[in-house]
Amino acid sequence: MRIGDAKQSYLADEALWTSTTQQVWFGLFLLALFVFPFLATPYLLYLACLVGIAVISATGLNILTGYTGLISLGQAGFMGVGGYTVAWLSLHTDLSLPPALLAGGLLSAAIGVLVGLPSLRVKGLYLAIATLAASVFLHFVFMEWTPVTGGTKGLSLRPAHIFGIPLHNDFRMYFVIMPLAVVMLLGARNLFRTRVGRAFIAIRDRDISAEVLGIPLLKYKLMSFGLSSFYAGIAGGLFAYFFRVVTPESFPLSMSIFYLAAIIVGGMGSILGGVLGAVFMTLVPELLKLLTTVVTPFYPEAPVIMSPLRGVVFGALIVAFLIFEPHGLAEIWRRIRRFFHLWPFRT
């Protein structure tokens, strides 16, 4: 049981990790992330990279949808912008990963701002569909602007390089993806300690009173769109470098829904929620597959019969989670934590 946490200064009080225990845990977590690729199988390493990319993108969407309350179905499109930018740069320039990724993020952010323009007038599902429209436009551009995007065939990338080191395998990509994911998560966490983040939340909770309290709505809505798309663009760029190929079908609409599902299941308006959701959505299908693999040697028909069942179980899990805990995994986590903080007392 944790008893008290008296602070000497506001700085200490506002720190992200307010207790030594938390700091130690976080340190251990970072260490684990660092050690992981040395121990993991290629499969786990691959999944870890996927999770890292998903975490970045989900966090971006969470900034927009979870924190600012603007529902977006355009996440896949924004990721596509990042991915295609990076792919084009890889083919036509010799830029190293950081500037290329940054360019992907910025271009995506610029388009995000453009897409966000209607957000002052339309809200809720109408806005969601407006972003869906944007995503369809982007998809069309990916498909048809063949000289730049390679049309339906897409673009194949050369391996990324950073400081002259080629990043041609998952192991090396991991050391780009994970640190970037951690940094971008911290950035998002920081954001909500400042006026900008507070403005986002205020817009979500009650945009009209936020305006009267001095927050220019359009500016901040666009900022949220831009930032969210920046995250998406970075994730898309990493996605492109990771798979070394981008096609229009790399960024389907179902991907946008995937990320929306991730933040809802994880917990909207919670950084941790975005992370948990991304992990959940990426890993649960794999875990369910594991079950099939275990059975197969004894029951050769298992894959054929059980594979569709996975879709059912996956859907049912989402529904059940939402019915029993509409605030998502983050809320469940919080409850568990409180339980242990107060242990052995009950709340």
Partner: protein
């Protein structure tokens, strides 16, 4: 139907029960064998948009591996088939590959989509341990520079178009220039052969009077039919579809009194078309690199395949083309591995590639009716079949056409 549902349900319940029992009791028993088994891996779409084929591909691969093991394996080494469901999603396919490659590295691997083949190519090139083929007949795979360790288990989509166009040219009478229309789905898959098809038609002196691209999932195609009605092409070549909207095009255009002939590529030439369309399917033609399961041709391998299929599921008299495709993939792998082992070389990607490229006038035991030669990592061979709806089967209307 109800009976079938019931049966499905029961099988499901059994499987689920078993699953629980097994997760509780632990992992699978180890297979005992004197020799290190060879691994055939696969990213198989048992769910998702391609599941209809994936299920049969899976059956074909499974049966082939059981058969070859019954034959004593490859040069005495048993074969182990390891697969994962992908839902036809690229990232899942890659995950499956990594998972499988992380165990015993597979020497041969089935990839379920063009997207996957492209995404995995760099990895594959770096690993230099696996040769890969699969469901994709994409023209891009024939680029040996980019895809050194991948091949197509038949003609590429472009080559299929070429074969079809060759056939059309052979049918032309009185020196009249035949006219064709391409109808393709708006996907990478659908658009793959258009460019080459156009060029090849020009070379053969065939007029491409219309190119129609349809959106997947659009409700109806009557607008496209109206367009074709004005062009009155002699032939319509479908590509990028399984079933719909081919039936609509055919029925509607025939109702209008057009005598257009309808043709399709590999994935559009399964017997599914006859089963679902009934007598409307009559006269539809498809290009097929393999013999149909129920062909009148014979050959030792063909017999072996039928025998094995009967053994694994006696209730199914017929096996669809994806089954044959799966079987043929494994056959090529076996051939390639065997040639490498026979040469006393280790099973590296380079050696497997060399073995593949050495295939010349290869007798497939009846699966393909003529000896085949690998060109640009593909088997540019095929034959035109036409639906005889009354007999419920595809019947050959041309000889085997081997390009070049």
């Amino acid at each position: 139907m109800i009976g079938k549902l019931w049966q499905q349900g029961r099988r499901l319940a059994q499987a689920a029960g078993l699953a629980f029992a097994l997760t509780a009791s632990g992992t699978a028993a180890a297979q005992s064998s004197q020799q290190e088994p060879l691994v055939f891996g696969g990213s198989i779409p048992l769910t998702g948009v391609f599941a209809f084929a994936g299920i049969h591909i899976h059956a074909g691969l499974t049966d082939y591996v059981n058969w070859i093991n019954a034959q004593g394996g490859i040069n005495g080494r048993p074969v182990q088939y390891v697969m994962e469901d992908t839902g036809y999603l690229v990232d899942r396919s890659v995950a499956a590959y990594k998972k499988i490659a992380g165990g015993k590295p597979p020497c041969c691997y089935y990839g379920d989509s063009t997207g996957f083949m492209k995404a995995i190519a760099p990895e594959l090139n770096a690993a230099n341990a696996t040769i890969m083929s699969g469901a994709s007949f994409a023209t891009a795979i024939t680029d040996v520079q980019q895809h050194p360790f991948q091949f197509i288990p038949g003609p590429s989509y472009s080559q299929m178009f070429s074969i079809i166009l060759e056939y059309i040219k052979s049918q032309a009478k009185d020196g009249k220039k035949p006219t064709v229309a391409f109808v393709c789905s708006d996907t990478e898959f659908g658009k793959d052969p258009i460019e080459n098809g156009r060029a090849y038609a020009k070379k053969l002196g065939i007029d491409v009077v219309e190119e129609i691209v349809t959106k997947p999932g659009s409700v109806d195609v009557s607008a496209e039919v109206i367009k074709l009605r004005r062009k009155r092409p002699d032939y319509v070549i479908f590509h990028g579809y399984i079933l719909s909207p081919i039936n609509e095009f055919m029925v509607q255009m025939r109702q209008m009194g057009l005598d257009t002939k309808f043709m399709g590529t590999f994935w559009s030439s399964d017997k599914l078309i006859i089963e679902k369309m009934g007598k409307d399917a009559d006269g539809y033609m498809g290009v097929m690199p393999y013999n149909y399961f129920d062909t009148e041709d014979t050959g030792p391998m063909l017999e072996a395949m039928r025998e094995q299929a009967r053994k694994s599921d006696p209730k199914q008299a017929y096996r669809p083309t994806p089954y044959v495709q799966g079987w043929f993939n494994a056959m090529v792998w076996t051939e390639v591995v065997k040639r490498t082992l026979d040469a006393g070389k280790p099973l590296t990607g380079e050696n497997l590639k060399a073995a593949l490229e050495s295939i010349k006038d290869w007798d497939t035991g009846g699966i393909i009716g003529v000896p085949v030669t690998v060109k640009d990592h593909s088997f540019p061979v095929g034959r035109i079949y036409r639906v005889n709806a009354a007999a419920g089967r595809f019947e050959p209307v041309s000889d085997w056409i081997h390009l070049d």
